[in-house]
């Protein structure tokens, strides 16, 4: 399916500081919104677990003294060719024609988890209490909300990011902030080998590129 509009997040790995504000704001908005509740099990116990649409991971790249810490937010990538959609036996998993957002209809989901198996990125989480598959909705209940001021019609994670590491927009619109960022700053997709054409892109760290170039020059 070729989309004429494809909403997506572009995440700037140069400035993400790993504060998890996007994680908590996502949970706060979505647990109370149309995608919720996002339940927790044993939240104050020794082994707490729960449903989140967005996680921030941390990686250490290279060896001392060139070591870099990379904070890496990951949520559903809203693939243009989403492998999770055709496998769904009920049609609960679907991709919207109008804006390319991949969503789950919680009233149709039977909780078979097959879509989660078919997603190479691990972007889907089964809510243990509701027993339905959940995932990032790109805050579909925020971005079109007429009750919010226009400046706030963005995903909760984008609003919350203190370093502006998260950009939101239509990657099919060449003039959009996200399209320009991808084009000018070498935005890339995760696991391109699986040909899922993720809509979300990541902006590479300039320092990493400089170190790699310097190493090539030395070699």
């Amino acid at each position: 399916m070729t989309q004429t509009k494809q909403l997506a997040l572009v995440i700037d790995l140069n400035v993400c500081v790993g504060c998890h504000a996007c994680v908590t704001s996502c949970k706060q908005w979505n647990t109370s919104g149309s995608a919720g509740p996002l339940t927790d099990q044993n939240p104050y116990g020794a082994d707490p677990t729960g449903t989140f649409f967005n996680r921030v991971q941390t990686y250490e790249v290279d060896t001392f003294p060139l070591t870099q810490t990379i904070h890496f937010p990951k949520s559903c990538l809203h693939c243009e060719d989403p492998p999770c959609v055709p496998v769904c036996p009920t049609g609960a998993s679907y991709k919207r024609k109008e804006d390319g957002i991949v969503l789950v209809d919680y009233d149709k989901c039977i909780g078979c988890k097959y879509c989660a198996w078919a997603c190479p990125y691990g972007a889907r989480e089964l809510d243990e209490e509701r027993q339905v598959m959940t995932k990032c909705t790109l805050c579909v209940d925020r971005i079109y909300s007429t009750s919010l001021p226009e400046a706030e019609r963005k995903p909760a994670c984008v609003m919350a990011c203190p370093t502006n590491a998260r950009l939101f927009g239509d990657i099919k619109d060449a003039q959009s902030e996200v399209s320009k960022a991808i084009l000018e700053r070498g935005g890339y997709a995760l696991m391109p080998e699986h040909e899922t054409r993720p809509a979300n892109h990541y902006l590479p760290r300039a320092i990493t590129e400089i170190i790699e170039a310097a190493k090539r020059d030395l070699a």
């Binding site: 990951k74 036996p89 009920t90 989901c109 039977i110 691990g122 989480e125 995760l190 696991m191 990541y202």
Partner: protein, 313 residues
């Protein structure tokens, strides 16, 4: 992947029941006189229903399971959901016709047509079940025609040993038991060979995805320091078997011994000494082997999402 007991018992029971019904169908078409045919078919249908019940245990919302028949155009799971009840229905119909006492010497044309369609539907069901796994292109352990071959051959082999068990419980012509026993030995050996080929193939696979392609940073040294949570999540529960290498290799040994070596030895000695007890033991022993085989099938599948979940902190 985490091997769910519901899926393991569903697929192994389903395969054995299909193998039983296919064996009875072929014998019927060849014109063999089978005692208690309707009863044996009813046992097959009951096993199919039990396996269907096991598949419901896997669902978060079993009351909505009917919806799973809707997306047959794109989903192999949906196709399986449609084909399995058809298979059960046709088997029950055949059992009913046999219970009315039609002549077994020469199957009438309509009955032959029914039996042939049951054989075709069973083949379709094996394809649907295997394709559920084989169609996930980035799970390299599954995404190969060997998955289809194994599901079909393992189902046939366990179904043939199950037929041997049923044939010694309710007396049959000794030559019929003997020929089914030989086929059971042959299919068990053949399925053991193809399953071993897939185990060897899995051991040699090099993953298409790496931590480098997963986070898009081209540096040979990347270490995960945090996966973004202090304890577990769905991602750590669903996609990891969380057992030791020692445990997995023991399951592999149990699969080989119980699934293939012991059943062949029991059937061969049972047929040689004409011992019903040894022949009857073939199926329960082999079923334990099939459970471990299916556990291994899931445990050995390495999901690319696991690249993102390597360090709990």
């Amino acid at each position: 992947m985490h091997p769910a007991f519901s899926v393991i018992s569903f697929t192994t029971l389903l395969g054995a029941a299909q193998g039983l019904i296919v064996t009875l169908g072929i014998l019927r078409l060849l014109g063999y006189e089978i005692n208690h045919l309707a009863g044996n078919l009813a046992i097959g249908a009951a096993l199919l229903v039990i396996s269907l019940g096991a598949s419901f245990v896997h669902l978060g919302h079993p009351e909505r399971a009917w919806r799973a028949a809707l997306m047959w155009r794109t989903s192999w799971l949906s196709r399986e959901v449609i084909v399995l009840p058809i298979f059960i229905g046709l088997t029950v119909l055949w059992a009913f016709i046999e219970s009315t006492g039609v002549s077994q010497a020469q199957p009438p044309g309509v009955l032959s047509g029914l039996v042939i369609s049951i054989l075709m539907v069973s083949l379709g069901l094996w394809i649907c079940t295997a394709m559920i796994y084989a169609c996930i292109r980035f799970i390299q352990e599954w995404s190969h025609p060997i998955t289809l071959i194994n599901y079909t051959l393992l189902g046939l082999a366990s179904g043939l040993t199950l037929t041997c068990l049923l044939f010694v419980i309710k007396p049959q012509d000794p030559t019929l038991i003997r020929s089914v026993g030989y086929w059971a030995i042959g299919l068990t050996l053949l399925s053991g060979l193809t399953r071993w080929i897939s185990v060897q193939r899995n051991a040699k696979l090099s993953p298409r995805s790496t931590l480098q392609s997963a986070i898009g940073i081209r540096n040979p040294t990347i270490v995960q320091k945090s996966m973004g949570m202090s304890a577990g999540a769905f991602n750590t529960r669903e996609f990891f078997h969380q057992r030791s290498v020692f445990f997995v290799s023991n399951v592999k040994r149990i699969m080989l011994i119980f699934g293939f070596i012991l059943p062949v030895a029991l059937l061969a000695t049972g047929l040689y000494w004409e011992s019903p007890v040894l022949i009857a033991l073939g199926f329960p022993i082999q079923y334990l082997g099939m459970l471990s085989e299916r556990w291994l099938f899931f445990a050995q599948a390495r999901h690319p999402q696991n690249l993102y979940y390597q360090t709990v902190s």
